[in-house]
Amino acid sequence: MAEMSESTERSAQGHVATQVRDPADRSTRLFDLRYLIGTLFTLYGVVLAVVGLFDSGHEIAKAAGIRINLWVGIGMLVLGVLFLAWARWRPLRHDDGEPDA
């Protein structure tokens, strides 16, 4: 019984999956994560960098003399922009030719 259903399933979804369902259909229906990471880190980065610019001596002293909000904010902003740029540069494509590195 189990062997039966398994063999039909294998032929339906197994090695010929690309013919049964277009993989481009799936990859485009599932949204591009890079835009989400890029947007969130850009937002966090801008907020932290602005906060870091206005950090008082107390905050800077707490972090052993480093403007840590500013530096981490810049780092997150750079990462966010890189993700957005990557997503724009190499969008999810419809053909089978390796759309996303």
Partner: protein, 567 residues
Amino acid sequence: MNDVLAVTRLDVNALDYGILAVYFAVVVAIGVLAKRAIATSEDFFLSGRSLPAWVTGLAFISANLGALEILGMAANGAQYGVTTIHFYWIGAVPAMVFLGLVMMPFYYGSRVHSVPEYLRRRFNAPTHLFNALTFAVAAVLTAGINLYALALVIRSLLGWPIPLSVAVGAGFVLVYITLGGLSGAIYTEVLQFFVIVAGLVPVVIVGLHAVGGWNGLQHAVAAQVPHGDRLFSSWTGAGTGSWTNPLGDWIGIVMGLGFVLSFGYWTTNFAEVQRALSAKDLSAARRTPLIGAFPKIFIPALTIIPGLIAIAVVPNLGKNTVGAPTYNDAIPQLIGKFLPNGVLGVALTGLLAAFMAGMAANVSSFNTVFTYDIWRPYVVRDRSDHYYLNVGRIITVVGILIGIGTAFIASGYGNIMNYVQLLFSFFNAPLFATFIIAMFWKRATPWAGLAGLVAGTLGAGVMHLAGYHIGYFYPGGHVGPHETINAQMVNFYSAITAFVVDAVVTVIVTLFTTPKPVEQLRGLVWGVPDPDAPDPALAPKPRWWESPAILGGGALGLTLVLSLVFL
């Protein structure tokens, strides 16, 4: 419980809560957006096998980067020092490379849905059911333990009552997995990876700056603990005979941790392998653990170094006196001490995200194994795919409810949960022996598979109990009322026992039972190719940086160089 309360409350303001709230909103959005891509049960349980390698690779590492792991490894760093890197460089990277280079073609190429399903095709139904049941129970209880640990940390850092933390944590995991399935879990894991790194990097930067860099850290630690210099060497005292290394002798480290435990976890734990099975093709599946290996090499910088910094700057850390912070508090203590509002919110978000990811990885593998490996083959067969998709959603809710129950049991009996986890390590330890024989010896018979697993589990249990009566496992070299056993070392030796017993029993039973016909083993065993498999010559040739051999060799080479540097 008093030791937990000893942690200073974090000085959290509206900015930090805002950063946390944005993250939680994004996580819910991931669940809602991922739901649109779910039409079949395979979409729900395996992301429709459509994900690119960088996503599955980061999820592979992130599923293991739960907050228990982060806090625990920082605690080990504080207590044992640099020798803790054995859990990464010996205890993870080689196994991940082996999974990608050697084992993944059998998993992904045979199109199995899960690790237990491989055992069903390779051996028989009883072996399958034994593995599926133990995995399902272990996964749901581990999810509950993660949830409880989350609640404890939130209570000590923010002052929230435990039921509130449990409800919030479980509620968000419920939303994004029930809606988004494995895609929801994986996308959240990738996001969490970057947030936890962003939260821990400032701790390391500020902490190292405060103690005067790496050299200053060595001096500061040496001033705090006797033999502080030993905390900066990975292999000192690991000779057999009279070991002084905190992890015991090199046989236990290399064979027990590096070979049996590590390969058993990374290559057969479905919560990990599932991430690779969701990749879009065999090449991406093989690259999943290899891409994950590179961040794994550097994560100790974010866990062990904070542990050492905590030794230097947190008074009375791990001193075992009333009101003193425990080793587990190392990272929360540093966050509270060094991070101003803003990055404080990011670090807090990273920790909470890691807790939810640790729970979600277990829940998303539990619902798959329950539906595909328990419900569909043994309980309600031959229903529509839509039926099993609904079963998956319902069992996700049930699994999370059981996890919540586990969390409350754990809050009453903390020690019992330690024993439960220990018990499951017995089931895990022999798995690698069974899989390696299954994949490379086509003669191994169905009943030998079951007998080997059961015998290996028993072997680990017996060795564990016996270990407490063996003087070699005690730092003083003898059993005594005032001696404390080296529990890690006993674990390593129990794992070695499990492996040997499993392998020996599998071979012996094979010699007396009938093997499966070779036609049924196509694609499952080395040297028995699947005639239906696509011709490798037709597959698009990967670019050189996508070559599994180059990625795997690069990861091993980098690990070797770093191991020599930190010898």
